[in-house]
């Protein structure tokens, strides 16, 4: 008969550390190393079936799984928030399969998996930021042939990327692309920054943290090493602009963090709050401290 203590260990025994088996993790690490050596280059990898649907961050989870070590402190965010379904379930997944410590504080985390945001708090050396990527190929909707896009990357033929920006200006009078805004990594490969708002684009540039990108369905991994030049594409007469809603957070009052728009009543009243919940909490605490003094 099993006693209680054995039952408790079942979770850890039936899963290898961080869910994936060691050989798979090694395969992913190889892809990651290659990706770090060629910043912005999309490395194909043999993506595994994960116990959740594509679109839930299977690429990011595999990268996180390959990077995790037992003493890591994990933070998971979805659209900046720690408490949304996607973030909660992925965090629980790694608590269960890797038994690592978790946190909501950006500065305490050693590995942050993110969907669609870069935390407002500045990242530091020794931190890893893992992005979940739906479509890794920035040229995908401009040129459907994969053989052709690969060639375009190889030969740095990026005229077409500018056609997209041209079309934006012709149609809207300014560059309308607001998320997944294409960047040039290390002056070489044009890279899709995953669907982060373009407000976050400047944070990618010269960032001390390691930025890793995993696309599960598309089976691609790419990376931006620490302190790499990342430039958002633009025209001379229509320079890149990081933009956000021109309001203050109605919880913490911050005017320089990225805001979510929320409809708060049936007649369409709006409110704006920080999308980064950790940052918002921090600001609120700072404010109340100031009030106390």
């Amino acid at each position: 008969m099993n006693d209680m203590s054995k039952d408790k260990n079942i979770d850890i025994q039936i899963y290898n550390f961080a869910y994936l088996d060691e050989n798979t993790k090694r395969m992913i690490r190889r892809a990651l190393l290659k990706a770090l050596c060629i910043p912005g280059y999309q490395v194909p990898f043999s993506s595994r079936e994960m116990p959740m649907p594509y679109g839930w961050g299977t690429g990011g989870i595999q990268v996180t799984s390959a990077c995790l070590i037992p003493k890591d402190v994990l933070k998971v965010i979805d659209q900046g928030a720690d408490d949304t379904t996607n973030a909660v379930s992925i965090r629980k997944f790694f608590q269960k399969t890797a038994n690592v410590a978790v946190t909501e504080k950006t500065s305490d985390a050693s590995l942050i998996q993110t969907r669609h945001r870069i935390p407002e708090t500045k990242l530091k050396e020794q931190q890893i930021l893992v992005y979940q990527v739906p479509i890794p190929e920035p040229l995908r909707f401009l040129e459907p042939r994969e053989t052709e896009t690969r060639k375009m990357h190889a030969l740095s033929e990026y005229g077409l990327m500018f056609v997209k920006l041209y079309e934006d200006i012709a149609k809207h009078g300014h560059i309308e692309t607001a998320y997944a805004y294409p960047v040039k990594t290390n002056g070489n490969y044009v890279t899709d920054p995953s669907p982060i708002p373009k407000f976050d684009n400047p944070k990618m540039n010269n960032n001390p943290a390691i930025q890793l990108f995993g696309a599960g369905r598309e089976q691609r991994i790419y990376a931006i090493p620490p302190y790499t030049n990342v430039k958002s594409l633009d025209f001379e007469d229509y320079p890149f602009e990081a933009m956000k809603a021109n309001f203050k957070c109605s919880i913490c009052g911050s005017s320089d963090s990225y805001l979510d728009e929320i409809i708060v009543s049936d007649d369409g009243k709006r409110s704006y709050i920080c999308s980064d919940t950790d940052y918002c909490k921090e600001q609120t605490q700072l404010n109340s401290k100031e009030e106390d003094q």
């Binding site: 030969l155 033929e157 005229g159 077409l160 500018f162 056609v163 041209y166 079309e167 200006i169 012709a170 149609k171 025209f235 001379e236 007469d237 229509y238």
Partner: protein, 258 residues
């Protein structure tokens, strides 16, 4: 001088397995000259055109281009990035079907601007200005600059394709049946436009067609092809007025007189 030619292809052969695409074809062209390639369907005209443009790998032969800096480039020897750059800057290719040569879901201005952006233009205002001036040149109303080519008529699409190709001021333009599939009045208009542009800009052109009227109007010299071989070559008027080869005679005599 020996290096006066603009473009020279010598002994080009292309095989599709057992079948001959084209065999031992040589041609040369000087700047500002228009060369017509005529022949029946399946005679290897398009294969030859794609070979000398660099789209198809040739099995034998050399293709030489005297580039802007007077260096001779051999298409069969240079590497792909260089070839693609040359194709974008010095050469142009007008397809028979504008759908092959245009991006149908991108505005007319974007279509013209693409080649400019591909060679490094990064100023929106400038690109737009150049695009407008080219729309004017090919007689498309400038107010349609933001419309998609899918809303254009066949003739307009073909004119847009021509503008898109000429915008980077190529020195040699390859055309594969540029007026095929258009009704005669529109054909006449496009031919007129092409003739003016080619003369005005001093661009050399190689035109593949089965329409002798087109070569009569545009070409200085022609070559006649059959079964992948060149069977007759010479000045346009000479070949059309006094064809020597049996097949050329047949070709000329089968033109319908109105």
């Amino acid at each position: 001088m020996m290096q006066d030619f603009l473009f020279k292809a010598s002994n080009i052969s292309k095989y599709y397995g057992q079948n001959v695409g084209c065999k031992n074809v040589s041609l040369d062209i000087n700047s500002g000259e228009v060369l017509g390639i005529v022949g029946e369907s399946g005679s290897g005209k398009s294969t030859l055109l794609n070979c000398i443009y660099g789209n198809l790998k040739v099995d034998e032969g050399d293709i030489l281009l005297n580039d802007k800096s007077k260096t001779i480039l051999n298409f069969t020897k240079i590497d792909e990035p260089k070839l693609r750059l040359i194709q974008r800057s010095d050469l142009a290719f007008v397809h028979q079907n504008p759908r092959d040569g245009l991006r149908m879901n991108i505005s007319a201005g974007g279509n013209i601007g693409e080649r400019l952006m591909a060679i490094g233009h990064r100023n929106y205002g400038e690109i737009r200005e150049i695009a407008s001036s080219w729309l004017e040149k090919v007689e498309i109303d400038v107010s349609r600059i933001d419309d998609k080519p899918s809303t254009f008529s066949g003739g307009m699409q073909q004119r847009l394709q021509i503008a898109r190709n000429l915008v980077t001021k190529p020195r040699l333009i390859f055309m594969d049946e540029p007026t095929g599939g258009l009704d005669v009045s529109v054909q006449a208009k496009i031919l007129d436009l092409l003739r003016n542009l080619v003369r005005e800009l001093g661009i050399a052109a190689i035109i593949v067609t089965h329409d002798l009227g087109v070569v009569r109007l545009l070409a200085d010299r022609i070559i006649v092809m059959q079964n992948g071989n060149v069977i007759e070559a010479g000045l346009c008027d000479q070949v059309l007025d006094d064809p020597q080869h049996k097949y050329s005679q047949l070709l000329v005599s089968s033109v319908l007189q109105v």
